[in-house]
């Protein structure tokens, strides 16, 4: 193997790729070649670093210089100055990674300090398209150990002892699921990875597949051995082209090395793995709907029981776990369940990856030990709210979850605490909202999503969510009545109880949680006909400020004669007459008319 004096690590996650990290890589490689440094410096494109806010990110080792917001035109300078002459380009360093003339290591940056990277530890470190790099970081050792030293029941017991719970949202005990599948009486069994990450603010699973695809493949092979399966599927969203491509490369490489396919590690164990693409249906994240989709049908859920462990894919016993759940498995096998239990809380051991977004300084991907408080994530890791705005709410669990308020910011993040307060862990979306976000509008946004994504099989979800949306639209348009709020609440509770699958059962959560914590905002829309944050445009009123010079242009332009006032005196708008057409604003030469 060649030895290089420097390594240039470039983030190849979707966020950084969207801001040209692929072109930066290309240019970097060319420039390095031009300077005859290609025998000395190696360029590696890795998975997501997590700190998307600072992207595109380039790190140069051995110095550990953390360059952020790198542009194409900066490549020359990095190559000429840093790589050729050994002078670090201070101008491009991430602000926090450099203080008092000294470089700080990546782990000392606030954003990373409180994180504990287990699932993501290879992301941003190895080249996901090179199986040898994964193997160099103990990759496939867990599979080797399992196949040569452990019986299937030993594996299941180890996972059970670890207390690992499903990271897809439900939090069901993974070991228990494996045991149920192991015990099922079925001639053929399947292992399925649910990579249909549908929460519209979450991209953890995608980042894992983009940054460390082999971890998932290895875990699936371990699971297959444990439950007695020889075939597996990864069901992944077609919207994730980079992840799909890297996963396919990883599967091909693993096959080539004999780590997938027939007679793995010469133990006689066979495991075949195939990718199946979703096609844009949120409901397919529900396991029975996902199974229908792999079977080539409309992705509609079925009644449970029978559970997939009994009758799953093609009516055979099937084990379905989510990407992040799988990514924990090799670590637990190698380091043991005791090690795993030391992290996190008693009932929720381990870590959880969150996609932090919205009104927060450090947008990105974070992995924290369970039990970390919301405050630590939002302020210590996330860096707080930008533009000196006030924190208002944090939304977890996406369309199935709820909003938690500032009063609850000391809540520890674990499965039980979040559901106690009316939200849920969900798959890991965490969206921060500030004082400018209208909570009624946010509820409307999520219900609009579920109406779109409801598969239509059961009435409570198909009809109920539609009616909820109509009520919410009525309220945000300023036509709501007080009884609408009560109807909304009662409807939400009915849908929750009567729906067939998880989608419908959790769909009312955004409404119920905002009603619980922000009822006064609903009431302001209905009683006062105002939107306190100024988000709902139909509820805005027009005001004339002291900037008014009394030029009369507005009153002449007003089609309903709602503006009164004498020449050279401040005019006034009669809000009962005003139809909010905006004509006055476009006519005013002094910007003296505002909406609020």
């Amino acid at each position: 193997m060649d030895i290089y004096r420097s390594h240039v690590i470039i983030c190849g996650g979707t966020g950084c790729t969207s801001s040209n990290s692929d072109k930066i890589e290309e240019k970097m490689i060319n420039n390095i070649k031009d300077k005859n440094l290609d025998k000395e410096v190696k360029v590696v494109r890795t998975g997501c670093f997590g700190l998307c806010e600072a992207g595109p990110i380039v790190v140069v080792y051995p110095e550990g210089a953390f360059y952020s917001h790198v542009k194409l035109k900066d490549v020359d300078e990095i190559v000429n100055e840093h790589l050729l002459k050994g002078r670090i380009v201070e101008r491009l360093l991430y602000k926090e990674a450099f203080s008092e003339g000294k470089l700080k290591s990546v782990n000392e940056i606030d954003f990373y300090k409180k994180q504990r990277r287990i699932v993501l530890d290879n992301c941003g470190v190895i080249n996901p398209e090179d199986i040898d790099e994964y193997i160099a970081y103990d990759g496939y050792m867990a599979l080797g150990k399992v196949l040569t030293e452990m019986r299937p029941l030993d594996v299941i017991n180890e996972i059970k002892k670890s207390g690992l719970r499903g990271r897809g949202g439900g939090g069901f005990l993974t070991g228990r699921k494996w045991e149920l599948t192991y015990n099922a009486n079925s001639d053929i069994k399947y292992v399925i990875c649910n990579a249909d990450e549908g929460d519209p603010g979450a991209f953890m699973d995608r980042s894992i597949l983009e940054g460390d695809p082999h971890a998932v493949i290895e875990a699936m092979a371990i699971a297959a051995y444990a439950v007695g399966a020889n075939n597996g599927y990864v069901y992944i969203r077609a919207e994730y082209p980079i992840a799909v491509r890297r996963l396919q490369i990883a599967i091909d490489q693993a096959k080539e090395k004999g780590l997938l396919g027939e007679n793995i590690f010469e133990t006689g164990f066979n495991f075949h793995l195939e990718i199946r693409l979703g096609a844009g249906a949120f409901v397919c994240g529900e396991e029975t709907a996902l199974i229908s989709s792999i079977e080539g049908k409309r992705g509609m859920p079925n009644n449970k029981p029978p559970y997939p462990s009994d009758k799953g894919l093609w009516n055979k016993s099937s084990l379905i776990n989510n990407v992040e759940t799988f990514a924990n498995i090799p670590k637990i096998i190698l380091k043991g369940s005791d090690w795993f239990r030391e992290i996190g809380t008693e009932k929720s051991p381990g870590t959880k990856v969150f996609a932090l977004g919205g009104k927060i300084k450090n947008t990105g991907l974070v992995e924290i030990p369970m039990g970390t408080t919301l405050r630590e994530v939002i302020y210590d890791i996330g860096g707080g709210i930008p533009n000196n705005k006030e924190f208002k709410a944090v939304q977890t669990g996406g369309p199935s979850g709820g909003c938690l308020t500032a009063d609850l910011i000391e809540t520890p993040i674990d499965f039980e605490s979040l559901s106690t307060f009316g939200s849920m862990m969900g798959s890991g979306g965490m969206i921060i909202m500030d004082e400018d976000n209208c909570m009624v509008d946010i509820a409307r946004f999520f219900i609009d999503f579920t109406v779109d994504e409801s598969c239509g099989k059961c009435t409570p979800c198909r009809e109920g969510t539609k009616r909820m949306l109509e009520i919410l639209e009525k309220i945000t348009k300023g036509k709501g009545e007080l009884e609408d709020i009560d109807n909304l609440e009662s409807l939400a509770n009915t849908i929750k109880q009567a729906s067939l699958c998880g989608l419908g059962q959790t769909a009312p959560n955004p409404v119920l949680s905002t009603l619980k914590y922000f009822r006064e905002e609903y009431e302001a829309h209905v009683i006062d006909r105002t939107c306190p944050t100024g988000t709902c445009k139909d509820l805005l009123s027009f005001y004339i400020t002291d900037e008014c010079k009394g030029c009369t242009k507005c009153s002449k332009a007003c089609p309903v004669d709602a503006i009164e006032g004498k020449v050279k005196q401040k005019h006034i708008i009669d809000r009962d007459k005003c139809i909010k057409c905006g004509e006055c604003i476009s006519q005013c030469p002094f910007d003296a008319i505002i909406k609020k």
Binding site: C52, P200, G201, Y240, G280, G296, G358, K359
Partner: protein
Amino acid sequence: MEFKFDVKKNSKKIDELKKVITENKNKKGPLMPILHQAQKIFGYLPIEIQKIISEELNVPLAEVYGVATFYAQFSLIPKGKYTIGVCLGTACYVKGAQDIVDRIKEQLDLEVGGTTKDRKFSLQATRCIGACGLAPVMTVNEDVYGKLNPDEVPDIIKKYK
């Protein structure tokens, strides 16, 4: 919108599709992978193509149509030369993505899910594309535009006109 699928002009592509069908026929659950490939070949799934798939796989057309219409990614109408996607994931939404959609609709006189008459632009509201660090985000085919404000929309569209 009105359009006609020309079977003659597409005969080469149809041969290609038939090859794909033969390759996947004996797989378990072949319909979804074939529809994906068909959409890649033709850009959309006209009824003529669904009929071919139905015949070759020996599955009722109703079932093929049912699946094709169930999933948001399969399109039954031709797409424009440029597909504009605006991310309406939660992170982008709280940062004002709706205003971006509204501005594009106004600029191109286009509804979400539609294609302009000259078949130049299609507009899609996409779910999270995972570039939350760049919110709000829009894409035009492969190009990504981030940290947008609505006033930048006209200039971006102009680039592709």
